[in-house]
Symmetry: C2
Subunit: 477 residues, 2 copies
């Protein structure tokens, strides 16, 4: 008798989900880490004194401190007696903010309604209005447990059957394809190239669209990730206009994954939302746009806050989405509180502003410098190059392999990028992600680095990478 | 050209989801509430001085205070400087606990791994071991954003296609059928009856099973909710043994929704887990069991904490479940912290114990007294009766309608239970839920009350209900 929950007997779509952010290289790095933690004598056989996890996307794990204002407010809401007797050093405006949010939520322990707290949705709507220059409606916003949850709502509305197809970027974050497969649709990659600074090209989109259509697929939407993970790109206004025109021409939904919108580092290449351009250029498309507490400078990943905004979408469909989330009664309250604070941080003149400004600017400055250091480093070495890192929290340098190196990778049974990452780890203790995890145009190979390690550790890692890379280059020349 | 997100063009399963906890009666109560808030002169036309929301399942909204220990620990983790300089009155063991959890989590802002923090899973495993008398494995536990999330993982593993069927209780919480429909399976009710104190009967299960099978449905699992919402039942050991034998005979999975396990009020009818009985009676079935932070005495609904434990389930299927949740990277950290504290609260001898004991016992005592008052009240009135309220946070008294009352309800175009609830609201300001929201055996009618209003308000409401009911009874006799 087959067991009901035998793995051969579970939902097929669950088995079809593929998701990995780690490969054998990261697994090995973690086993090295354990050796160091256990003070294992085997560490003396390693070629490096310690590890640098240049693959980790979690700022707080990498040592970044939370923004004080956010956490002061949260702590007082968590334990309300603190609002009456604030601990020393907590500014008055933080106390006031805690009172407002505590009242609006009936506390952390209360359900907040399926759509999330109206107060927080109104804060998000004002944030969007300030960003784009025209109003957003709090009724069209659903607060979520992080952007995963928000994206999933979008995909679930869109995918009707197994022909339904979503265009997603490659390189791109593996979440998209995993969720699309879980729901039973087809994730279809469009490729971004270094030579275009990872700006999507309409020719490529048309190629992919037509190929998919010719196979009987029904293209429902395009995901645009700007600023982008892992490419570190911030899309040009011209590119965004072209993308909107393409979506309008094909009558497909635009899913604007703009969770890294605060993470734009180049004053000459600011982030502009697709929503704003759609309005300004009068290119009306159905649009879902996404935000998260996990990014920006605060990187509050663990609290799981985010939103989906429906723009130019049938009101009855928004109602269906609200019905869908109503089954779970409420997104988590902590994520909503942090989202509120991130969308409406202290402003000049408020008591919390000086510290908030200092902390956030310090983090942004570090991110900017780390991005520049990584970019410069990979553009100065033999056999590597790096597109401009204008945004997000990642770098995606390209490794150009010689025929000899490609042959050696093949013999080792590894993708060339994994071959490089693997040797890099064993030679230097620097752990990076292989580009193939994120997808890459055929015949190109990359590694992904995050901007999370401290500046000191980034410098250490880049020095080690340089030494390794020059040796790798010489060896396989 | 049809819009992609026109409501006619979205995923059919989304449209099929039905979920409501409110009906027109609750909507009207909310409109009355607004009149009172706005000090609208129209309130003088109402027959009552204020409202009692006897339908609301949110203890914190109803005025219950959070457990101090939980929130003290959470506040210090939220704003770590408080761990070094604890505010006056925070006991040392709370500070220690915050330090341990802060270290185990790398703080609220860090991802905690897809399965949730190992530390918290180990706490849950110890809690289960203590409860059942034999070990639980932290590797078989996934921490979730509330029990909705946990139940959904179970349903998603089980439902392969549109024939797959899950047996669910009626009366029961509407979440089950909503999620099963969303995933594309069939929710199949088995009925619980007042006369059996809402203990499921094997004859009824066999009837439903055979009927479903004869239609070509494939029964995959049975949901058992104990203690039960809305019935207020705690299942007898004998019933649980029979249910396990039935599940074993039919080779179906047992989904043990035991989120109200702390809410058992009758010493003579304690909660016993299905897992414990399965082991003690050696009735081995595949089992998923569920817990939540939203229930018990702390009722921390908004933080969204919970777990699913896999018991006697193929290890590869557990791996598939972990893969599935890995896409979202992490359940929210606040929910995990509160779950840890609820599974391992202060014990005698610890500095936090006296206050914790006082607060939790006070709440449990109130719940017990409220349950008794409601039960007694409905058993003492004409035309109403109430099964013993042994557990959960609800009461589900039956209203026995005369032919005349049934006829009047029909003429009003309302289900009889809604007809009663509607008249009750307009006559007294007491808002209750109609039984048909939860399902009820044909020809029986109920209302659902929650144990959430304060004891004072429960007394006020029961008095008003009594007056109304006697008049209703006389009128339709």
């Amino acid at each position: 008798m087959t067991k009901q929950l035998d793995v051969s007997n579970i939902r097929p779509n669950v088995r079809k989900v593929e998701f990995r952010l780690k490969d054998e290289v990261v697994d090995r790095a973690l086993s090295y880490k354990k050796l160091f933690e256990d003070k294992d004598p085997k560490t003396s056989e390693l070629k490096f004194p310690d590890l640098v996890f240049f693959n980790v996307g979690d700022a707080h794990v990498a040592g970044q401190k939370p923004i004080s204002f956010y956490r002061q407010v949260l702590a007082m809401i968590a334990y309300p007696p603190l609002m009456d007797n604030p601990p020393a050093g907590i500014p008055e405006d933080a106390v006031q903010r805690a009172r407002v949010l505590h009242k609006a939520s009936a506390g952390l322990g209360a359900y907040s309604g399926a759509q999330g707290l109206l107060h927080v949705r109104q804060t998000c709507a004002k944030f969007i209005e300030k960003r784009d220059g025209f109003a957003s409606d709090a009724n069209n916003i659903i607060l979520t447990d992080g952007s995963y949850d928000a994206l999933k709502i979008g995909f679930e509305l869109l995918i009707r059957d197994e022909r339904d197809t979503i265009l997603i970027p490659a390189p791109g974050y593996p979440l998209y394809s995993a969720v699309i497969r879980e729901i039973g649709g087809i994730p279809q990659h469009y490729f971004l190239e270094d030579k275009h600074q990872f700006n999507p090209q309409v020719d490529e989109l048309k190629r992919v669209y037509e190929q998919a259509e010719s196979k009987g697929q029904k293209i429902r939407a395009i995901v645009i990730n700007n600023p982008g993970n892992p490419a570190g790109n911030v899309l040009s206004r011209e590119t965004l206009v072209q993308l909107l025109k393409f979506a309008k021409e094909k009558n497909i939904v635009v899913m604007a994954d703009e969770v890294y919108q605060v993470n734009a580092y180049d004053i000459k290449a600011p982030f502009v939302s697709l929503r704003k351009i759609s309005k300004e250029e009068d290119i009306q498309v159905e649009m879902l746009s996404f935000q998260s507490t996990s990014k920006g400078f605060s990187a509050e990943c663990g609290v799981r806050g985010g939103y989906i905004e429906f723009y130019n979408v049938d009101g009855n469909t928004v109602k269906e989405a609200v019905k869908l989330v109503s089954v779970r009664l409420s997104p988590n309250t902590t994520g909503q509180i942090i989202l509120d604070l991130a969308c409406d941080p202290p402003t000049e003149g408020q008591a919390s502003y000086p510290l908030f400004h200092e902390e956030s600017e310090a983090i942004m400055g570090q991110l900017r410098r780390k991005a520049k250091a990584i970019e410069d480093s990979f553009n100065s070495m033999n056999g590597t190059s790096c597109a401009e890192i204008k945004g997000s929290l990642f770098a995606f340098p390209q490794i150009h392999f010689s025929e000899k190196a490609l042959q050696s990778a093949k013999e080792a049974g590894l993708s060339p990028d994994t071959f490089y990452a693997s040797q890099l780890l064993d030679a230097t203790g620097v752990c990076v992600s292989s580009g193939n995890i994120f997808g890459q145009k055929e015949g190109t190979y990359h590694i992904r680095l995050t901007l999370m390690p401290t500046e000191d550790r980034v410098k250490v890692a880049l020095d080690r990478i340089k030494t390794f890379n020059e040796e790798f280059y010489r060896k396989y020349q």
